[in-house]
Amino acid sequence: MNQPLAITVAQKAGPKVTLGVGALVLAVLIALPLLHLLPADNVLHVSAYTLTLVGKILCYCIVALALDLVWGYAGLLSLGHGLFFALGGYAMGMYLSREAAGDGLPAFMSFLAWTELPWYWYGTSNFLWALCLVVLAPGLLALVFGFFAFRSRIKGVYFSIMTQALTFAGMLLFFRNETGFGGNNGFTGFTRILGFDITAQGTRAALFIATLALLVGSLYLGFKLARSKFGRVLTAVRDAENRLMFCGYDPRGYKLFIWVLSAVLCGLAGALYVPQVGIINPSEMSPTNSIEAAVWVALGGRGTLIGPLLGAGLVNGMKSWFTVAFPEYWLFALGALFIGVTLYLPKGVIGLLRKRGEQ
């Protein structure tokens, strides 16, 4: 509506192409789970491996999108988003472990010779309560952390370091057997979800569709927010927070809103990740995971919403190819990719595509 003319012109040049490519990608993604349902000897059959891999990448895309909302728009670089992702995953994992254990205790508890459930496990056999936990655990943690961090006006690199420390602390906590989340093995050996066999074709397809729906929904929400006055205030927080305060805005509320929303999206992504991948353990909270998420966003182009999805897709696609083809060179390739993008594509992959569109 109030877009700069230059951007409008640039978009006029390539909106059909962009929309066309987007629709094509979406169509392929919808087709994947359907093709998975075909019998295994059919030429068009999509293997469980491929479906799970793409489903996993879609979960990462949601994380990248969530991170872009806080980093690209509000300028808060979080290096701890893996924690929120893992918390959502653990909440879902608790439900899946209870489902697998039936009336008994989850396997790891019997192994530790525990006789009763810790208090925070109560109710986790109920799927709806588990879903509430998926939202509440990351949401409340983000709310409390964000409240104090933003009240104390912590920003920039200090904020990043604190988020990094937070996820590291979370990892150490979850590594302990006494914490009651399976120690360093985490949860695995899931069998059923809502009564359906978790490895059945139909279940896999449904989980994939749910992930895709969450991604599309998050993208829609992201665009809605970015184009509202709220989004413009966030951009203003990023660029000149003091000015904004003297305009009469309290930036704390704005930051807290987007921060909690972002954490909840990560939690939901984690909850969909766990049943597809079949395992959750504390290594998901390792600081490197969170840093990698920041790499996806930077690589794709921050503050664009679409860019981070490209970044997450590109890096993870390459990762799964490289780690099979040349396992020992993957980290070098990732490093080279990041240096290349930093040097030659300051606005990320999306910046390159937009430039092409303008020409």
Binding site: V233, A236, G248, Y249
Partner: protein, 283 residues
């Protein structure tokens, strides 16, 4: 240095606050109705002390600004001009002293955001605009309206608000660049945009820190006209080094030196003052 409130510094109201002219710029809304300016003084500072690690930035400073007045503050570097603005806008808390906005609002107990919402606008020394947003969007954000998260999520510009922004765009001569990102504006244009943001914010007291720095002569002249037209409807406090500019706008000048008021009066009066010449103008 006299530290008690000097009655000579208190000005008669230059404008009748009971009159209806207050909303001549922008619609007057609820926030401004809470301000009690019965006695014709919009800003009262008495015996303000601020020290940073033993350095006294302001000492026993007393200053009164009348409703509708245009006050210029001058003083050599380090006199405490910016600290004074920081105290008024809540960025710095005074060690002691009294700071009232109108008759009832105690500035020492309000946050920066509350002070801004109460009706004190500030222009920074270095022009500060939202560079990634367009000129129009900058004004949209600054506009006087509810600024809660919820309000921003649902905000739609009304025709009236749009007209108001258009009007200000014309005033600051930026209607040709309304869709340009503010980061691409020239230095002078950014200064004007920031002034425009203050106009749509419609504060009752405007604090302007070196508003004409980096402006061309024509722009400076235009700014002087603009400020003179704003005075009476608004109260202005301008910190400026450009004596030509000060002379062209100010009825009253206050000279700060080492954190307190050294002299006050018309520009001619303070320029003739021995002490002022000694510390500042004589050089």
């Amino acid at each position: 240095m006299s530290s008690t409130a000097n009655p000579e510094l208190m000005l008669e109201p230059a404008f009748d606050p009971a009159g209806s002219g207050r909303d001549a710029i922008g619609a007057s809304t609820a926030a401004s109705q809470g301000l009690n300016i019965r006695h014709g003084t919009i800003l009262t500072l008495e015996d303000i002390n601020v020290s940073f690690d033993g350095f006294k930035a302001l000492s026993n400073l007393c200053l009164y600004i009348g409703v509708g007045e245009l006050r210029c503050i001058i003083g050599p570097n380090g006199a405490g001009k910016t600290t004074l603005m920081d105290v008024i806008t809540g960025k710095t808390r005074p060690d002691n002293g009294v700071a009232y906005f109108g008759e009832t609002l105690d500035l020492t107990r309000m946050s920066e955001v509350e002070i801004a919402q109460a009706g004190i606008g500030r222009k920074f020394q270095k022009p500060t605009v939202f560079e990634a947003l367009s000129v129009f969007e900058n004004l949209e954000l600054a506009q006087k309206t509810s600024k809660t998260v919820w309000a921003s999520l649902r905000a739609r510009l009304s025709g009236e608000q749009r007209d108001r922004i258009d009007e200000v765009l014309a005033t600051i001569k930026l209607d040709g660049s309304r869709q340009r990102p503010a980061g691409l504006l020239s230095h002078g244009q950014k200064q004007f945009l920031e002034i425009g943001m203050l106009l749509v914010q419609d504060p009752q007291l405007l604090l302007l820190d070196e508003p004409v720095a980096g402006m061309t002569d024509a722009e400076t002249e235009f700014t002087a006209e603009l400020f003179k037209s704003l005075a009476r409807k608004h109260s202005l406090m301008v910190v400026e080094h450009d004596m030509g500019f000060v002379g062209s706008i100010a009825d009253h000048v206050t000279v700060l030196h080492q954190g307190s008021v050294l002299a006050a009066g018309s520009l001619a009066q303070v320029q003739a003052d021995e002490r002022v010449i000694e510390v500042y103008l004589g050089r």
